[in-house]
Amino acid sequence: MANLTEIRWHGRGGQGAKTAALLLADVAFSTGKFVQGFPEYGPERMGAPITAYDRISDHDIRVHSNIYEPDYVVVVDETLLSSVDVTNGLKEEGAILVNTAKDKSEIIPLLNGYKGRVFTIDARHVCMETLGKYFPNTPMLAAIVKVSNVLDQDVFLKEMEESLKHKFARKPEVLEGNMKALRLALEEVH
């Protein structure tokens, strides 16, 4: 299972971290990968910390446990950094991606000494520019695809367009805004 990529998502209930994890599994599936996308259900209420997971591989995936040593971690809500040990088990050759408007230098001290790569993106800015509403999962999805390189970016955009076209067949304006958000996110993550 050398080519297995494991991603852990941290968010708060209602922000769409679970949806983003399932979407990533979806789009990876459509490029021919074996996938697992699953949420860890805690208290089902808005704002409570939630965790979701992705496994992406070229081989059949059998294990059914949570992910304890992820290759990548996505933090959808930066306020979690003070209450959840988001870098727990995170591989040093991997990376963490945080949604924040702050500079990376302000985030790094909050990561419990994590020595791997740190990426940030201002998902609110991306959303306001493109969607006019704050749905952080769309930019975070694009950003983690770029950070993890788990999918080719062009293939990712093409598959997302197909899937959104199908999903929002009656609302083409939603499709356009989401595609813009994905493209802008690919540019703004660093």
């Binding site: 399932l22 599936f29 995936i61 949570n66």
Partner: protein
């Protein structure tokens, strides 16, 4: 050509239900049931199925309506989970004793308390003596395949019993994974039409369902049920063989993984078996003869087949995702150990309760179970036949 898809376990079962398109589905549409009835009612609202959906006011009513529909001669299904299954308890027995081949999708989740919605087998394990057939799945693929086989088993003339098709709550039911689906026409041909022999709406025959039977015939009815349960073993294998012809996927009463020459064997049910397989691959590469017997069919309980499959083992760990409060372990442990005694198996056996209230189990913990089996082979199992895995200190 099989259709490659990705689906959650719930989506997979809903899709199987759509393809089978039974006559009637009474179901409670919200929690404690899962999103499954909602998915099916979407198919119906979109005109993709013509099943009569009855949104009842409780799970007790769901099973009662299913009994009515099945008695009338309709192919009937329902779905539930956790407390919903518990609320059906009284009428589960009525469905079984009236020999009604209802198919029910069960999403295995804990029963309160503490209040908990996560995976556990205590709901269906609690119903193990209700007279229903029970088949369990490791993943979404098996849940789908098992549901496609359900009516062929339940409606068979030698069986005529209701059937629970079980999958692990959240881990499988809400986790999205790759799956291969069969084409609609293949499913239709495989499942076939339902032509019951006796039913209430049969014009040229008067019959009664669920009559009063006291000391005169009551006991014979129970014995007939037990006999049908025994007969189901062969039917399950025959149906699996036919299913393999259309799907290419092989099923039995159990699945052996690296079992043939295994010295250390874990026996388990459900999604944990995938995790165990990964642990076995690691251990085998280090020369440890580890193996798995995955229980697929729990009712009927294939005692001879199970003991035959593990008779070469030196030490066995039987894993239960349910507590029986018998001070002896869980239901699988108790039943399999009884079978091992009758089969004169000499292996040391321990019973491990794991994963209650959704407690996660990982590969490292499974490796530790095998390490313990190795130790037990040397030093015996005395005093620790029944234990908890992954418990906080």
């Amino acid at each position: 050509m099989a259709i490659k898809e990705r689906m959650s376990g719930n989506e997979a079962i809903a899709y199987a239900m759509k393809q089978i398109n039974p006559d009637v589905m009474p179901a409670f549409p919200i929690t404690p049931s899962t999103e499954l009835p909602q998915m099916v009612s979407n198919y119906i609202a979109n005109g993709e199925m013509d099943t009569e959906f009855i949104p009842v006011e409780s799970e007790h009513s769901a099973m009662s309506a299913a009994i009515g529909a099945s008695s009338a001669g309709a192919r009937t299904m329902t779905a539930t989970s956790s407390a919903g299954l518990a609320f059906m308890w009284e009428v589960l027995y009525v469905a079984a004793s009236n020999r009604l081949p209802i198919a029910m999708a069960v999403v295995n989740r804990a029963l309160s308390g503490p209040i908990n919605i996560n995976c556990e087998h205590s709901d269906s394990m609690g119903a193990r003596d209700s007279g229903w057939l029970q088949i369990y799945a490791e993943n979404n693929q098996e849940a789908y395949d098992n549901f496609l086989q359900a009516y062929r088993i339940a409606e068979h003339k030698d069986v005529k019993l209701p059937i629970m098709i079980c999958q692990d709550g959240f881990i499988i039911s809400h986790g999205v994974q790759n799956i291969e689906l069969l084409e609609d026409d293949k499913v239709k041909n495989f499942v076939g039409e339902y032509h019951p022999e006796h039913y209430l709406l049969k014009e040229d025959e008067v019959c009664s369902v669920g009559p009063y039977a006291i000391t005169n015939f009551g006991m014979e009815g129970k014995k007939a049920q037990a006999h049908a349960m025994d007969s189901a073993k062969k039917v399950i294998l025959d149906v699996a063989a036919e299913f393999e012809k259309v799907s290419g996927r092989k099923y039995g009463l159990y699945e052996g993984y690296e079992l043939e020459d295994a010295e250390y064997v874990i026996v388990a049910i459900g999604s944990v078996c995938g995790t165990i397989k990964d642990a076995i691959d690691e251990l085998r590469s280090q020369g440890v003869k580890a193996g798995l017997m995955k229980v697929r069919v729990f009712r009927p309980f294939p005692a001879e087949e199970f003991t035959d499959a593990i008779k070469g083992a030196k030490a066995v760990a039987i894993m239960d995702r349910a507590e029986s409060y018998s001070s002896q372990g869980g239901p699988l442990g108790s039943e399999l150990m009884a079978a091992m005694y009758r089969g004169h198996l000499k292996a040391e056996a321990i019973n491990i309760v794991y994963g209650l209230c959704g407690r996660d189990v990982n590969v490292a913990e499974i490796r530790e179970v095998y390490a313990q089996l190795k130790d037990i082979e040397k030093n015996g199992a005395a005093g620790r036949e029944y234990q908890y895995l992954g418990l906080r200190d």
